[in-house]
């Protein structure tokens, strides 16, 4: 039987008349990386702030290990916020020692932990450098280190890869994986990077307008919009896109066709075999194909399918 470390029960948050989180129910398993996806303003950060005890819910409960969050001993959760939350005039080591003290980590243990964290996050050389003098990537890693110094059971990472270069992102991803696989921690990860969520998460929740839309493993989520390939075609004359969409819709074994960002996006099993027919319908018009690609179904397709293409915030 699965052991749940966090449970959100009918979680609701209103800001005046605005309903930010609408009756959210979630169970997060111990030792998993739980991806939390949603467009900007979907209610991710609000939900997380309630789950870690920073924000009071308008309604509903948060249970940590079956205990109400209000009575849970502090220190079970470590949060790495979306924005950099650092003391610019402390050194890396001073910052981590301070945070450890605040969580009452014994001095001897704390020193070891700080050294290990600095080493794991490749910050040892900068241990005596003022945070204000770190590069953007180093500050991101410090932001994470501050969430971990007290060895929390649950780690909340709110868009941790924001602004990181590919090298730093790789360091971070490896570290997140090690948090789960080697240290047995539960990680809640919010991100806008679908490949990040796909690669790291055991399960993913997609929310929008404060409501949970889908919760499953990345593999199962991709099946939500059916298995198969995605064909994207860009025509010389975009004005006839809708005409072509209608023509393709009437074909057999086409699961989905839509116009996305000026391109025609077709989802179908064994799409290559469908291509001659599709090209035939295009040739009937005056337009020609400017660009065409075939790729496998991704989490981003699922995300767009569930949350739509309209801009948020």
């Amino acid at each position: 039987m699965d052991e749940y470390v966090i449970e959100a029960q009918n979680l609701t948050k209103k800001f005046g008349d605005f309903l930010a989180v609408d009756d959210l129910n979630l169970k997060i398993k111990k030792g998993e990386v739980f991806g939390f996806l949603g467009p900007n303003g979907a209610g991710k950060t609000t939900s997380i702030n309630m789950m870690v005890g920073l924000l009071k819910p308008t309604d509903g409960n948060i249970l940590i290990n079956n205990e109400d969050i209000g009575s849970v001993e502090k220190g079970k959760i470590g949060i790495c916020p979306q924005q950099l939350v650092l003391w610019e005039n402390l050194t890396c080591k001073e910052t981590l020692m301070l945070m450890g003290d605040m969580y009452e980590v014994p001095k001897s243990e704390l020193k070891k932990r700080v050294d290990k964290l600095l080493d794991d996050l490749i910050l040892t050389e900068k241990e005596n450098t003022l945070v204000s003098n770190l590069s953007g990537g180093m500050k991101r890693r410090m932001n994470l280190a501050m969430a971990l110094v007290h060895n929390p059971e649950i780690v909340v990472l709110d868009e941790p890869s924001e602004g990181l270069d590919p090298q730093s992102r790789r360091v971070l991803w490896n570290y997140i994986t090690s948090l789960r696989d080697e240290q047995g921690k539960t990680v809640i990860l919010t991100t806008h990077l679908m490949d990040e969520a796909d690669k790291l998460s055991n399960r993913i929740a997609i929310i929008d307008h404060g409501k949970l839309l889908h919760l499953d493993t990345p593999e199962n989520l991709k099946k939500v919009i059916g298995e198969g390939d995605i064909v994207e075609i860009q025509l010389s004359n975009k004005e006839i896109n809708s005409e072509i969409v209608k023509a393709i819709e009437s074909m057999d074994e086409i699961e989905n066709v839509a116009e996305l960002d000026g391109k025609i996006s077709i989802k179908a099993l064994n799409a290559i075999n469908k291509l001659p027919k599709i090209m035939e319908s295009i040739e009937k018009t005056d337009s020609t194909v400017v660009d065409m690609s075939i790729r496998q179904n991704t989490l981003e397709d699922v995300f767009i399918h569930l949350t739509g293409t309209s801009l948020r915030e």
Partner: protein
């Protein structure tokens, strides 16, 4: 027309920060209320002025009748009975007392000034009357001179920078002059040749207005610390670092007491700088090095109270600009309320340990200011200011406790929005 776009942007920002706008608009209102309260008498034009009379007059024998008279007592009674024109309100509230008690009353600003009637006052009056009647003047330059004309000096003593002293002193001087003219009659000697009036500052040294005002200026500067503390604490909120700490096992006491310690060092430095600058520009005070040391200790207590006030402000302000506005809104009027520059009308709540306890005494800075005046202006030692220092410490602890409670409730609990 870029300036117009900037103006529109600024106006929108101003109007949309409603809390900030509220503080900005409230500030002049507070000022007007305080000044109105201080100078307007809140609808009452004529108020009795509190003065103390120390009567050393021995009395004298009236020539001719042989009657023993005491014109010092007469003067006291006349001042006591004096009323505003076309009014039943007495001009003075008279306290007949000794010099040491009067000094204590003045230290607590329970009186505006003390009038000291000298021992030979009655004899001077008799000599003046005799001279007026005879129409000739003998030697007037020495007291109890060989030709037996007695010259007396009425001393009006007080804190010459104190606005109430100025008011009471000018009323008293004009009444005394009027009384003198009545004695003088139609012919004879000039009153000032027999009875002089001398205005004396407090203490042994000749102090300037700046010297008298210095304690108020020091307390004002110390109060401004509250704004800095509130702004810096609110920055922790805005930067999100407080949220990190909030999730830890840190308590409001840890956070605020931890903050109090380094800020106390800042206070020590600030108070030392204040005194150093004041002394460098010629600040005179009564007492020696010990007085300065005592004043620094008192100043530090006031500074700690200001830090605690900053913590209370930080419990309500959402960002540094709001903290700055709210801090100014509170700290500046407080400096007026405690009497750093002007004295508000007396509002006595009762008596504590034989001392009047006024509504302003619920603020520690009132006691800090009184104690600083005691040390620097009156030249008091520890014993003279112990009562006020005691109150300042107790009230500072209370303000700090309120700061911890409010900060814990508003900043370290889960937020509502």
């Amino acid at each position: 027309m870029k300036f117009f776009s900037i103006a529109k942007k600024d106006l929108k920002e101003l109007l949309r920060d409603r809390r900030g706008l509220f503080f900005i608009l409230l500030f002049p209102m507070f000022f007007m209320l305080i000044f109105g309260f201080a100078f307007g008498g809140m609808g009452q034009d004529n108020q009795p002025h509190n003065i103390a009379i120390i009567n050393y007059d021995n009395g004298a024998i009236l020539p001719g009748t042989g009657e023993h008279v005491n014109f010092g007592n007469n003067l006291t009674n006349q001042l006591k009975d004096a009323k505003y024109e076309e009014s039943n309100v007495h001009i003075f509230n008279i306290t007949k007392t000794t010099e040491s008690k009067a000094s204590s009353l003045m230290y607590h600003r329970d009186i505006d000034l003390e009038l000291i009637i000298p021992s030979g006052f009655s004899q001077s009056i008799i000599d003046l009357k005799s001279m007026s009647q005879s129409g000739s003047i003998t030697s007037l330059t020495t007291v109890n001179s060989s030709n037996k004309n007695t010259k007396s000096t009425l001393i009006i003593r007080g804190d010459t920078s104190y606005i109430n002293f100025g008011t009471s002193q000018s009323i008293l001087t004009s009444i005394l002059a009027k009384m003198g003219n009545n004695i003088q009659g139609t012919t004879g000697a000039q009153v000032q040749d027999f009875i002089k009036t001398k205005i004396e500052g407090i203490g042994t040294k000749n102090l300037t207005t700046f010297d008298y005002m210095a304690p108020g200026i020091i307390v004002f500067a110390i109060l401004m610390l509250a704004i800095n503390v509130a702004t810096i604490l609110t920055r922790e909120v805005e930067n999100g670092t407080l949220n990190r700490l909030k999730l830890s096992k840190m308590t409001a006491f840890d956070f605020l007491f931890g903050g109090l310690l380094p800020w106390s060092l800042v206070v020590v430095a600030q108070v030392l700088i204040l005194f150093a600058v004041a002394l460098a520009i010629g600040f005179n005070y009564n007492g020696g090095l010990n007085s300065i040391i005592l004043a620094v200790i008192v100043g530090v207590i006031g500074g700690i109270a200001s830090i605690s006030l900053g913590m209370i402000i930080a419990a309500f302000a959402k960002n540094p600009p709001q903290a700055s506005q709210l801090g100014t809104l509170i700290a500046v009027p407080t400096s007026f309320i405690i009497g750093a520059f002007i004295q508000l009308p007396q509002v006595v709540l009762g008596n504590v340990m034989g001392q009047q306890f006024q509504i302003y005494d619920i603020l520690p800075w009132t006691h800090v200011l009184t104690a600083l005046r005691g040390v620097l202006t009156f030249g008091y030692g520890w014993n003279g200011i112990a009562y006020d220092v005691g109150w300042a410490v107790v009230l500072t602890v209370i303000i700090f406790a309120i700061g911890v409670f409010l900060f814990s409730r508003t900043r370290l609990s889960p937020e509502n929005e």
